[in-house]
């Protein structure tokens, strides 16, 4: 993958004032969204054992490897630190050295992988080489589609990246999120944050498909799903808000199915179906069968359940379950 290795002979140790390290130049940065707590503790207790790698620039030094270490030292309030200075002027070679060091020493998040790929492209690595060499190196599926999503993620707004990092959002859901315009992505973040991955995916798919089907802007669809009533309601937690919106969107995406589900639930309510006996239609009403399940510990409980079922079957509302 690498044209050549970074040469130790080209490096020297130096002690630099922290202020001389230019953190605004992020060309070699690979670390994003992290906590410095443990590192600060380590440096405070044991000192900076592994010096960051820097390269001299016209003004000050560019940080090649050791982003977190430098930030932690700043946080602690150190005025100068020991560093390794390289004379190597090959940006790609230095960046790869930083990537390999990180890969060997810690887990790399999806957002960081995306940044690495974007920077490799910027350093002139062709797409084909990214697909063949670097995606597998980063344990990512080596397809053009996946690469496009990752480059999209690297260009996304910080709030999107933060959600992806915080919630460990998988690549497929990132793909679904990035299909929306940045302005719409911002609207979606509060809905996605409280939900698990399956429900995040459901919301994103439903919204996308409704917007494509009905040719409507996202805000209009959210309003139709009850956004004005639900979002920001003092009676609801963020999770409850997101859940209500998910159900509202499902109704818009699947109107007939939702109608049938409501009808089944309403029949169950009207007949006062016992809570300890589960009754379900077939998946998506595709089959005609209805399933019933209950638990029992002994013959007496079993017979009691059967009696309950017989009582249900005698009710005049019972045939409503079978109205197809």
């Amino acid at each position: 993958l690498d044209s050549s290795e970074i040469r130790i002979e080209d490096m020297r140790y130096a002690t630099l004032p922290l202020a001389k390290i230019n953190l605004k130049d992020e060309r070699f940065r690979t670390s994003y969204f992290f906590s410095l707590e443990r590192l600060i503790l380590s440096i405070e207790k044991a000192g900076l054992l592994s010096p960051p790698l820097v390269r001299q620039a016209e003004k000050g030094y560019i940080l090649v490897a050791g982003w977190k270490r430098v930030l932690a030292c700043r946080e602690i309030g150190l005025s100068s630190i020991k560093v390794l200075v390289t004379e190597d002027q090959d940006d790609l070679r230095l960046f790869l050295a930083s990537v390999h060091e990180n890969l060997a020493s810690r887990g790399i998040s999806l957002v960081e992988k995306a940044e690495i790929l974007r920077k490799l492209l910027k350093f002139g690595v062709p797409k084909r080489a990214l697909l063949k060499g670097y995606l597998p190196l980063l344990s990512l599926p080596a397809t053009g589609d996946h690469l496009d999503v990752l480059i999209g993620l690297s260009r996304a707004e910080d709030a999107v990246k933060k959600l992806v990092w915080e919630k460990d959002v998988p690549l497929l859901i990132v793909h679904f999120l990035l299909r929306f315009k940045p302005v719409d992505q911002r609207l979606l973040l509060p809905l996605l944050r409280p939900l698990g991955q399956n429900k995040q995916r459901e919301i994103l798919e439903d919204l996308w498909e409704i917007s494509r089907r009905d040719n409507k802007p996202l805000q209009d669809i959210l309003d139709e799903a009850g956004a004005r009533r639900v979002l920001g309601s003092p009676k609801l937690s963020p999770q409850q808000e997101a859940e209500k919106m998910r159900l509202g969107l499902k109704r818009i995406r699947y109107p007939q199915l939702s109608y049938w589900e409501d009808r089944f639930k309403s029949a169950r309510r009207r007949i006062r179906w016992p809570k300890d006996i589960a009754i379900h239609p077939s998946l998506n009403f595709e089959g005609e069968e209805i399933s019933i399940s209950f638990l029992f510990k002994n013959e007496k409980e079993f017979k009691a359940r059967l009696e309950q079922l017989q009582a249900m079957a005698r009710k005049k509302e019972f045939p409503e379950f079978f109205g197809r």
């Binding site: 084909r128 053009g144 589609d145 498909e209 409704i210 494509r212 089907r213 995406r253 699947y254 109107p255 007939q256 199915l257 049938w260 077939s282 998946l283 998506n284 009403f285 595709e286 089959g287 005609e288 197809r324």
Partner: protein, 376 residues
């Protein structure tokens, strides 16, 4: 239709008559002998659209397994006891909904050149069936006629199966490539069938296929030549105004083609494995078909919510009865007993019962005596 840009020949089939015929009938198309089909992979790996690009390449090879297989249908739905002959894999047409986009391992078009092995296998198959009626066709993993101007296999197939009266042999197509079919004499057990859809769906979703009107015209020509014909309204696709559009096609069809010559009409609604959805979205960004009310069916495929399917089928069946006189055998592809019962008032429980509905014993007394035109 995609034009073939290059032919790759497996060295094992270089001397076969079909190989020679194809190369001869493609003047100006470069042909190369390759040892392994993996050599084709290299051509397509860098393509942004291997599925589309692959349709420009022909791979002439040997069918090493069986040519004939029972149609796999789909689990948990009723089949029709159909057999398929895999003479070719993939198709130069590029329909957005085509399941071959996920079903086939390779994106190029494969044609098996060892036809002698097919005839031997068919002889054995015929002996095994011992004179029972069998329905068999070549249009499952490819369009039966899309490449017939190059392969010219239809006259050979018609000639072989024309002698086997107990085998109903179907050539299924969306094209008007009927010259090879018309070259020889017709036979009552050779059925030419067309996949039809509304004009809008044909125009927007069936890239490379002729307009529906042209397909109907081709069917008319073939039926007047003496061949029985069949039609497959599959996949029926729901959209605002679809019922009127399907009604127009059915009227056109049944006014153009004598219903007494129609061996069967099958109906099936849009269905596909979930893996096809992102492919359609990527390859056909203008398409809206995947945004219908598609739910997961018993077989795991996405299909329209059942009440929507039943409602559409009921309307289509009524239109076929109105314009076709009620004698045309209609059947469903990959549906369950509830759909059959509610849309067609028939209750087959097994594929053998569907086959019976389509067998000549049942049809002959009815479809052969009907008159064309609306019967109310």
């Amino acid at each position: 239709m995609n034009e073939i840009q290059k032919i790759f020949v497996d060295k094992d089939v270089l001397s076969f008559p079909l190989t020679k015929r194809i190369i001869k009938r493609c003047p100006g198309v470069p042909a190369a002998v390759v040892r392994y089909k993996q050599e084709l992979d290299a051509l397509l790996t860098s393509s942004a659209d291997p599925a589309g690009e692959g349709k420009k390449y022909l791979w002439l090879s040997r069918q090493k397994g069986a040519f004939v297989k029972p149609c796999p249908c789909t689990p948990h739905y009723i089949g029709c006891n159909y057999f398929i002959i895999n003479l070719a894999l993939n198709c130069p047409l590029d329909c957005s909904y085509c399941i071959l986009q996920v079903y086939l391992a390779n994106p190029w078009i494969t044609i098996y050149a060892n036809l002698d092995d097919l005839w031997k296998e068919m002889d054995a198959f015929r002996r095994e069936k011992k004179g029972k009626f069998v329905r068999i066709g070549t249009g499952e993993l490819s369009d039966s006629l899309a490449l017939d101007h190059i392969t010219q296999t239809s006259p050979e197939l018609i000639s072989y199966f024309g002698r086997e009266r107990k085998i109903l042999f179907e050539l299924k197509t969306k094209t008007t490539n009927i010259a090879g079919v018309l070259a020889g004499p017709p036979a009552e057990n050779i059925i030419l069938s067309w996949s039809l859809n509304s004009e809008k769906i044909a125009r927007e979703e069936e890239k490379g296929a002729p307009p529906v009107e042209d397909r109907i015209e081709a069917a008319k020509v073939v039926s007047e030549r003496g061949f029985p014909v069949g039609f497959h309204f599959d996949p029926l696709i729901l959209y605002p105004g679809c019922e009127e559009d399907y009604a127009r096609v059915i009227e056109k069809l049944l006014c153009a083609v004598n219903p007494s010559r129609i061996r069967w009409i099958s109906l099936g609604s849009l269905r596909f494995p979930p893996a096809l959805k992102p492919i359609i979205e990527k390859r056909f960004p203008q398409s809206r078909i995947i945004y219908g009310e598609l739910i997961q069916g018993k077989d795991g495929k996405l299909r329209y919510f059942k009440p929507l399917r039943i409602e559409l089928y009921q309307k289509i069946v009524a239109l076929i009865k109105y314009w076709g006189g009620g004698q045309i055998p209609v059947y469903f592809c990959m549906e369950d007993t509830e759909v059959w019962e509610r849309a067609l008032k028939k209750t087959p429980r097994r594929k053998e019962e569907v086959e019976l509905i389509l067998s000549p014993r049942v049809n002959d007394s009815k479809s052969m005596t009907s008159k064309s035109g609306p019967s109310g």
